[in-house]
């Protein structure tokens, strides 16, 4: 496949991220591979500590030191971006990859009006004059649904409600017209009725502008409604990846099945929720073989010995020895 000829925009291959600590090196991401096509929304779901946010941070080059990429590669439109010098990466971030984080208050500078922040971002990345950039900022605010954008452009972040602030953050992430956006828990701090508005907005904008989106969240409901494909992460690895409908309705990996069954449903009441016993291991105590084996109802001998790689399992790809056995 020649780079650029197909629709693949972002390709992550065998990504390994480690944190050196006093008590040894912790491997937080252990061989992550996936790709995102132009205009596609990929969901990344998992429990706290599974490595989903870290994957997003590695892609936008914002790993917190001492965390570092020690293996694999990240390609944006065929070009490697994981080994770029900081200055070059800063250009990629913002211009080619936008970022939306959970808490809009920490993303926005409280000392600058939202108009100032938008104009600066636009002028850093696009060849526009001050007044052109301001007009562009106003049209972005209108597009993300800020009422009376022309009057409110000089307002400060604290003058907006949580939902409105997150709309401003989305405008800020998209105003340089990036090819891709990494959104890390963009609706987690918001109430449900606001969350639905923000999801609909992100979906519409991604479709209209052909922007690829990597949506990181722990909320399977949000993923189900927003994404085209989903990657389920567990203990620093991708357990399963595939079309969202298949992963939700016909999960292949025992962890995915357990996760789906443990979510209380709105449309029916059960006496008891299915539960996965135990908890996800800490990075210091990842079990040998498949990291899920101590909690897995279907664990076999091989699961305690060998790490399974991603392989076809039904309509999805799953990192599970069950599917190896069946295919042999």
């Amino acid at each position: 496949m020649a780079g650029g000829a197909d629709a693949t925009l972002l390709e992550v291959r065998d990504l390994v991220v480690e944190f050196p600590t006093r008590r040894g090196v912790l491997r937080a991401l252990d061989g992550i591979s996936f790709s995102i096509a132009r205009g596609e929304v990929l969901g990344v779901v998992g429990e706290s500590g599974a490595g989903k946010s870290l994957t997003g941070a590695a892609i936008i080059g914002l790993l917190e030191p001492p965390g570092r990429v020690v293996g694999g590669e990240i390609r944006l439109d065929g070009q490697r971006i994981d080994n770029l010098p900081q200055a070059a990466m800063r250009k990629v971030r913002g211009k080619r990859i936008g970022a939306i984080f959970q808490d809009p208050l920490t993303t926005l500078n409280p000392l600058l009006s939202i108009g100032r922040q938008l104009v600066e971002t636009i002028r850093t990345h696009l060849p526009l004059s001050e007044s052109e950039a301001r007009e562009r900022a106003i049209s972005w605010l209108e597009e993300v649904g800020i009422p009376a954008a022309r009057q409110r452009i000089d307002a400060y972040p604290h003058e907006f409600s949580g939902g409105m602030r997150q709309r401003v953050v989305i405008a800020l992430a998209l105003c340089a017209e990036p090819e891709m956006v990494v959104a890390d828990e963009p609706t987690t701090a918001l109430d449900v009725s606001i969350q639905a508005q923000i999801i609909a907005l992100m979906k519409r904008l991604a479709a209209e502008h052909g922007t690829a989106v990597m949506l990181v969240t722990h909320d399977m409901g949000v993923i189900a409604e927003t994404c085209d494909r989903v990657a389920v992460m567990y203990a620093g690895r991708i357990a399963e990846i595939g079309p969202v409908r298949e992963v939700v309705k016909h999960p292949s990996h025992p962890y995915t099945s357990g996760l789906m069954a443990s979510i209380p449903a709105l449309d029916r009441k059960v006496a008891r929720l299915a539960q996965i016993e135990g908890a996800m291991p800490r990075l210091t105590t990842i079990p040998r073989g498949c990291a899920f084996n101590p909690r897995c109802p279907k664990a076999m001998d091989v699961c305690r010995q060998e790490k399974p790689g991603l392989r076809p399992a039904g309509a999805t790809m799953a990192a599970c020895h069950l599917y190896e056995v069946e295919n042999v």
């Binding site: 429990e47 999801i199 939700v248 979510i263 908890a279």
Partner: protein
């Protein structure tokens, strides 16, 4: 009073409970600026009763007053108006009576903040036992071990400190502590909101199991409607301090009547919604300091008419549930 009557009596009863907070600026600053006092009506005329051995859930978005109700239910706040009664006894009086106070307890949202990091788990769980003099000497540690096993930990876990546990295990410790005083009534304020879904399922199953075994009564506060459906017999939906719809949980989920309840149910992302598009309802929750006149929901309500902008709807029976809505009461909903 006969036992039969006591069994029928609600464990907790709120009668037209209102709670107002003074959120004005400091007096000097306020006088200099010539401002009036600003009052926040966090809970406005809420009435409900919880029957023994059942769960009543209150659900709503941030700022709707559900946590304020929870705090009033255990006497951490006194109502500004109306009455809150525990076992038929006015709550402030019940709080002064150690025998009654022992019978209610609370589980909080954040198991990281609600456990003392400097205490061993066995001391955390033993504190209520010692405070209420429920056991002494070796019997205390026996009881602690029993409680830890009851919540799915092991007796040896008592040696550890809270930081040695994961979030879900910590919430189990909170539950063990809440059960230590042998209460019959537990107020649970978002007990699983800080937990991952697979752990949430463990904690919800544990809470339901304990309810069946010990005959506990729960007041369950949550913003997650799916969790609420799983846990409760009765449900109250709150918006800006008022209970806008209240009744059997099944009745509300199968036929939501208040436009806000419908909006909430419609807005929740659901696994069943794979690939389906929806049109979210616009608007945001207004500030509770200056709620809209009439029905507080009218600026966001698709059914709002003139009357909703000026006249406050009273709570009225509508089929199996009680609803505070002009549209439902007058049949244009």
């Amino acid at each position: 009073m006969s036992d039969a009557m006591a069994a029928d009596r609600p464990v907790l009863e709120a009668e037209h409970v209102t709670r107002v907070f003074d959120v004005s600026r400091p007096m000097l600053a306020r006088l200099m600026a010539g401002e009036k006092k600003r009052m926040l009506r966090a809970v406005d005329d809420a009435s409900f009763a919880i029957r023994r051995g059942t769960t009543l859930s209150l659900v709503g978005e941030s700022g709707c007053g559900k946590s304020t109700v929870a705090r009033m239910a255990v006497g951490l706040y006194a109502p500004s108006a109306g009455a809150m009664r525990f076992e038929g006894c006015e709550l402030s009086a019940a709080r002064r009576d150690a025998a009654l106070r022992r019978r209610m307890n609370m589980i909080f949202q954040d198991p990281y903040a609600s456990l003392n990091p400097r205490w061993r788990v066995r001391d955390i769980v033993a504190e209520p036992i010692r405070a209420f003099r429920l056991a002494r000497g070796a019997a205390v540690s026996e009881r602690v071990a029993e409680l830890l096993v009851q919540v799915g930990l092991s007796a040896a876990d008592g040696q550890k400190y809270p930081h040695e546990f994961s979030g879900g295990q910590r919430q189990r410790v909170s539950i063990a502590r809440a059960l230590a005083s042998e209460p019959e009534f537990l107020v649970c304020d978002e007990p699983t909101s800080a937990l991952d879904v697979s752990v949430q399922a463990q904690i919800l199953n544990l809470m339901k199991g304990l309810q069946e075994r010990l005959g506990l009564t729960y007041l369950f506060i949550s913003h997650n409607l799916a969790v609420v459906r799983h846990m409760s017999e009765r449900l109250g939906v709150m918006y800006l301090g008022r209970i806008v719809e209240m009744g059997k949980a099944e009745a509300i989920f199968s036929k939501p009547q208040h436009p806000y309840t419908r909006l909430l149910l419609e807005a929740i992302p659901d696994l069943e919604m794979v690939g389906r598009a929806r049109t979210p309802v616009g608007g945001e929750v207004p500030s509770p300091i200056a709620p809209p006149p009439g029905c507080a929901f009218h600026p966001r309500c698709p059914l709002a008419r003139e009357k909703c902008r000026s006249v406050r709807p009273e709570t009225a029976r509508a089929g199996e549930v009680e609803v505070a809505c002009h549209a439902v009461a007058e049949g244009w909903g």
